[in-house]
């Protein structure tokens, strides 16, 4: 038995957090709906909770939102008092909210101290599924499903590691040419979203062989499908957002594989999609189980967001609705096995052989009603088209004391401040949680469409820098003026470059 371990302290921390009478379970609320509805419905007090959250409702310990193709999903979690035990995880029926087509699902979970991964090393990988702007056809969605399933299975079979985050689509990253690299402090302007998968896997630092085996598996997968592959640059003093290119995207091979695997599937954009959120106590292999089973049922994946909230595993998938499927299908929640059948009915776009062979698993699933999709106008590579009127990403990071300003409120403030400079603003992704020192730490990616169209790439870079700096200062002023947070207690950084968020730190 190795004497040195940090997992025992993580176990003690989880148990200590969950031991008090008022925090021995986790309440959560999941909201599915069209993008842009805001977060008001998310942090309303629970109507029929015993005991009710009341004033605590606006201080969730965890907050997570994901928005893509005009559909949005948000989750909040609160520590709450325990109720009579019936099962480790429960999710309620869909409840309509004040916004149209928006449904909330209230859930409950027991603490899950058996899932420990804190001291692990992380491998971040960026898989590129296409070099064009993000406009996935039905066929692309099916390939994405297969790639996600294979990636998640690799993490389990070779890395013996859980998925910490998995997102698609994400902002693509293109290396600068040597002639344009300068001193390396700048980077090419990035698209807000692109046909890429970003996956972060927590590997045990004691098993480097498993890590290399997983990476080698990713390389083999990328070669098989012609995907581009970048891994996080793990040289000392490198930060998240810096990538090391392993191989570039091979368009011809990708097209061949896509045509070979799914020859008859249509090549146009899905017009409607629905969100499926699969939840359960976080376990190794959960994402692989879920995505593989859907993929085996001939269901494609338009977008995915996998992570865990207070040790509850979430696999959120945006699934393209099959042509001719019932657009009036209602929101639904229930057992995973029933959910798979329902999803297959609505979203099957390919007749898979030997469909639905998955094992019975105790996950719960929440399905949104079908919603219309919208796709961003993106340029092909750099984001600077002739008009420059394309969405650009802005990254946000914040550290605020708990119970001072809630993450949804903070994001709304940033969005409002951006409105002066942007024609359209959307929170594409945000995640915040209460951590060490009772501080809420969060990261977000906002997508902005500048009101004043930039002339060229350099102009766009300069504009984005200026906007980010102004909005950052304005938000900090507002926080200070409203006396929400004491002076010096808040750290907030908004930047058009992801790696500028954490100047110091190590990725090793």
């Amino acid at each position: 038995m190795a004497l040195r371990t940090s997992r025992s302290t993580e176990l003690a921390r989880i148990a200590a957090e969950a031991a008090a009478a008022d925090a021995s379970s986790v309440r959560l609320r999941l909201v599915h709906g069209p993008a842009g509805a805001g977060f008001q419905g998310l942090i309303k007090p629970f109507p029929d909770l015993d005991p009710p959250l009341h004033e605590q409702a606006q201080w969730p310990s965890d907050f997570w939102t994901f928005s893509v193709a005009g559909l949005a999903m948000s989750v909040c979690a609160w520590p709450a008092a325990a109720t009579v035990f019936s099962s480790p995880f429960e999710v309620g029926a869909p409840r309509p909210t004040d916004h149209p087509d928006t449904f909330a699902y209230d859930g409950f979970s027991v603490p899950n101290p058996g899932f420990l991964n804190e001291p692990n090393r992380r491998i971040d990988a960026l898989l590129t599924l296409n070099s064009t702007h993000w406009a996935p056809s039905y066929r692309d969605c099916l390939v994405t499903g297969v790639v996600l399933a294979r990636t998640c299975s690799l993490a389990v079979s070779r890395g013996q590691s859980p998925i910490v985050h998995l997102h698609t689509p994400v902002s693509p990253f293109i290396d600068q040419q040597i002639s344009a690299r300068g001193d390396g402090s700048l980077e090419r302007l990035r698209d807000a979203v692109g046909p890429c998968v970003r996956v972060s896997v927590a590997v045990n630092p004691q098993e480097p062989t498993a890590r290399l085996a997983f990476e080698q598996g990713l390389v083999a997968l990328a070669e098989e499908f012609g995907l581009g592959l970048k891994l996080n640059d793990r040289r000392f003093n490198r930060v998240p957002g810096e990538w090391f290119t392993i191989r570039g995207f091979d368009r011809e091979r990708y097209r061949q594989v896509r045509a070979r695997l799914f020859p008859d599937t249509p090549m146009h954009l899905p017009k409607h999609a629905m969100i499926a959120s699969v939840m359960g106590p976080a376990r190794l292999g959960m994402a692989a189980d879920v995505i593989s089973r859907l993929s085996a049922n001939g269901v494609g994946v338009l977008a995915a967001a996998v992570s865990s909230v207070r040790k509850i595993g979430f696999v959120n998938l945006v699934l393209p609705l099959a042509e001719g499927a019932d657009l009036a299908a209602p929101a639904w929640s229930g057992q995973w096995d029933d959910g798979v059948k329902l999803i297959a009915e609505r979203c099957r776009t390919f007749d898979a052989v030997g469909a639905d062979h998955g094992e019975v698993a105790a996950y719960k699933v929440a399905l949104s009603p079908p919603m219309p999709c919208s796709y961003p106008r993106s340029s092909r590579r750099t984001g600077a088209s002739v008009t420059g009127r394309v969405p650009y990403p802005l990254w946000l990071r914040w550290d605020v004391p708990n119970r001072t300003v809630g993450s949804p409120l903070l994001l709304s403030m940033v969005e409002q401040n951006l409105a002066a400079y942007a024609e359209q603003t959307e929170v594409a992704y945000a995640q915040a949680r209460v951590g060490r020192g009772d501080m809420v730490r969060g990261r977000a990616k906002l997508v902005v469409l500048l009101a004043e169209p930039p002339r060229d790439v350099a102009d766009a870079q300069a504009l984005l820098n200026e906007v980010a700096e102004r909005v950052q200062e304005r938000t900090l002023e507002q926080l200070s003026d409203a006396r929400l947070v004491g002076p010096g207690q808040v750290r907030l950084r908004l930047s058009p470059r992801e790696r500028w968020l954490t100047y110091a730190g190590i990725s090793a």
């Binding site: 940090s6 200590a16 480790p88 420990l116 000392f236 190590i506 090793a508």
Partner: protein, 680 residues
């Protein structure tokens, strides 16, 4: 590994099994309240991390050769404790705050005082045991509730949770007993079962109500809840709980910044066996040093740690170095990465039987090289500080100009497993100068990797050193600071530190007084001989001068007895139990030997009546005194050599430091080892 690791103590699951087999099966659940469990878990969490303790200072006083007093003072910052945690440890307007952990074998009472000198209330061991047991029982219940099988009927976990609760109560009782009573003996008689000859099982299925069935289900539950590959975190927590106590004090929440101090129980020293070395040190003029090693554990979140040592005024601190393993996790991971890459490059495979992709190999090598360069930079800073410290001690220990290494020479040296600090420093310089851009095609990629991994392991690059900065001769102080950039940010394991302290009898030392005494005695004997024989020829000539026998033997005897007696009375010969007594053991021996010589001569003068005998006695006496004088001179030479020794000969100091010595030497066993880590 050269720095000795303490062998791991027994697996607590073995103890749990033994207790499940022997404890009476409970017929009702344990009565722990949720508040007790919350308090116990919060205290356990806080005591493991100690994030609210930004500074620790320890003051050690060596009272004799085997005992040390230890006074600990800590700064406590209650604001570092999160609001949710504070609610769990609040009682009235005060908070229960763990400030340290210590071994259960230390049973002396500890009195904690604040900066005003007022005694601070403490949590009793009984209460501490009870809340810790409640915490583990609660943790057990959480693990059962979150287990995947908890809703699957007829599984072991489902039975434990819903239908066969006596087995769960037994499991809870076993955990509570282990936490309350501590670990079972590792060997010998452990439980009542060791005394009983139980009848063999009949093989027929027993009833579910039988104790045997209840115990079997509890044992099965143990395996189900903690399979062998996933029991480490819980086992580690349980082992800490049953081998250590928490020092928990009650502090007023209105004063968030506090200063606390307490006298820890007297620390007994361990004396490693080294009979030949001890004999040599006692009998030969080797300028004996008294070497003390002090082992301690510093909480990972502590920013500053001060270690002060004080010894008898007549003893001087010759060397004081503190070495901690703060970067060890980082270096171990680096070594494992190099080993993994070595086996993958050698075709051992990465699970798929092929060589790693070239760009993957480059990424791995770049990651390894950048980390190795950082380690090289850090250790070079340590080595520079150490050399400055040595140069202050002795002018001859200044730094010589280093040999300059080219990029190829550096890589070749690393490929031979030479991870000494100069090589790593040169590597860091070349890496920073972009000389290591393409490593996958270079010589570092292939066969050099196994030797590099061995070098990283052997040189103990994860251990830093801090040197003495105390101007006193009989005191030492080391100020260890947490590195501003933590290389192991996820680790919460305490930093282990070893202080190496070498004590010596420096000038004005006893040996100088003894040398003067021996010279004086030799002159007295020479004078007596010369006066009796009428000239100095007796000393070097074999001829016997007639009438050498003293006419008044009583006077000669009186001189030969009184002079040494007076001289030795003026010497301060300490007790052998003290450190000073140990340091002056050889000096004592030669002082007594020289007196024995003169006493022998006095006896000869009083009893011998022939010229031949008295001349030979005087010659023998002068020869022995001359020999003693040579020993004294050798002792001076040995002291000079020891003072100029650039690196202490200890295996507790990192090998990268000891390897800088001009000649490799065998490490000496310390005279006393004090362990304050509280891990036993």
């Amino acid at each position: 590994m050269r720095v000795a690791e303490r062998p791991d103590s027994a697996d607590p699951f073995r103890d749990l099994r033994a207790l499940i087999e022997t404890l009476p099966v409970p017929s009702a659940p344990a009565t722990y309240t949720q508040r007790e469990a919350a308090l116990g878990l919060a205290l356990m969490d806080l005591s493991l991390r100690l994030e609210h303790v930004p500074r620790v200072a320890e003051h050690l006083t060596l009272i004799d050769r085997g005992h040390m007093t230890r006074s600990v003072s800590v700064d406590v910052d209650l604001q570092a404790i999160a609001g949710a945690q504070r609610r769990r440890i609040t009682t009235g307007s005060s908070l229960w705050i763990p400030v340290s952990r210590y071994s259960r074998s230390d049973l002396a009472p500890v009195v904690v005082k604040d900066s005003t000198g007022a005694v601070v209330p403490r949590f009793t061991h009984r209460d501490s045991n009870r809340v810790t047991a409640a915490a583990f029982v609660r943790l057990l219940s959480m693990l059962i509730d979150a287990h995947p099988d908890v809703t699957a009927r007829d599984t072991v976990v489902h039975k434990l949770r819903h239908t066969h609760q006596r087995s769960r109560w037994l499991l809870e009782a076993a955990i509570a007993e282990l936490v309350t009573a501590g670990s079972l003996p590792e060997t010998g008689i452990r439980t009542p079962l060791d005394y009983a000859l139980l009848p063999a099982l009949s093989g027929a299925p027993g009833r579910e109500v039988d104790a045997r069935a209840v115990r079997d289900l509890a044992l099965a539950g143990l395996d189900e809840l903690w399979p062998a590959d996933a029991r480490l975190p819980f086992a580690h927590l349980l082992r800490l709980a049953c081998s250590q106590y928490m020092l928990v004090v009650l502090l007023d929440a209105a004063h968030p910044r506090r200063f606390l101090t307490w006298d820890a129980p007297l620390l007994p020293g361990r004396r490693p066996r080294a009979p030949i070395q001890r004999l040599v040190q006692s009998l030969l003029p080797v300028n004996r040093e008294f070497v003390v090693e002090y082992e301690t554990a510093i909480p990972r979140s502590v920013g500053a740690y001060h270690l002060t040592v004080e010894v008898n005024e007549e003893v001087s601190v010759r060397r004081f170095v503190l070495s901690s393993d703060v970067d060890d996790d980082f270096v171990q991971t680096l070594r494992q990465d190099v080993e993994m890459l070595a086996s993958a490059s050698a075709g051992a495979g990465v699970g798929v039987g092929e060589q790693p992709h070239r760009k993957l190999l480059e990424l791995e090598l770049q990651g390894i090289a950048s980390r190795l360069a950082e380690v090289g930079r850090r250790r070079l800073t340590d080595l520079t500080n150490y050399r400055r410290y040595m140069a202050e001690r002795h002018r001859s220990l200044g730094v010589a100009a280093p040999a300059l290494l080219g990029a190829d020479e550096v890589v070749a040296a690393l490929g031979r497993g030479d991870c000494s600090v100069p090589v790593l420093a040169a590597f860091a310089a070349h890496y920073s100068a972009d000389s290591m851009r393409h490593l996958a095609r270079g010589p570092l990629a292939g066969e050099a990797l196994p030797a590099l991994a061995a070098g990283i392991r052997d040189y103990q690059l994860g251990h830093d050193i801090t040197t003495d900065n105390d101007p006193r001769e009989n005191g030492a102080h080391a100020h260890w600071r947490h590195p501003p950039l933590d290389l192991s940010p996820h680790s919460t394991a305490p930093v282990r530190a070893v202080a190496y302290l070498s004590l010596a009898d420096e000038a004005p030392a006893l040996i100088e007084g003894i040398t003067r005494m021996v010279v004086g005695l030799a002159l007295v004997v020479l004078g007596i001989g010369t006066l009796l024989t009428g000239g100095p020829q007796w000393l070097y000539s074999g001829r016997i001068v007639p009438d050498s026998v003293p006419a008044q033997a009583d006077a000669v005897v009186a001189v030969l007895l009184l002079v040494p007696g007076l001289l030795i009375a003026r010497l301060d010969l300490p007790s052998t139990h003290s450190v000073l007594g140990q340091l002056r053991q050889f000096q004592r021996t030669i002082a007594f030997l020289s007196v024995a010589v003169t006493t022998g001569l006095a006896i000869a003068a009083g009893t011998v009546h022939t010229d031949h005998a008295i001349t030979r006695a005087l010659q023998a006496g002068v020869a022995v005194l001359g020999f003693i004088l040579v020993c004294c001179l050798l002792e001076f030479l040995a002291r000079r050599a020891r003072r100029r020794n650039p690196v202490p000969w200890s295996d507790r100091l990192p090998h990268w430091l000891t390897a800088t010595a001009p000649r490799p030497r065998r490490a000496y066993a310390p005279d006393a080892v004090f362990d304050a880590r509280g891990e036993v």
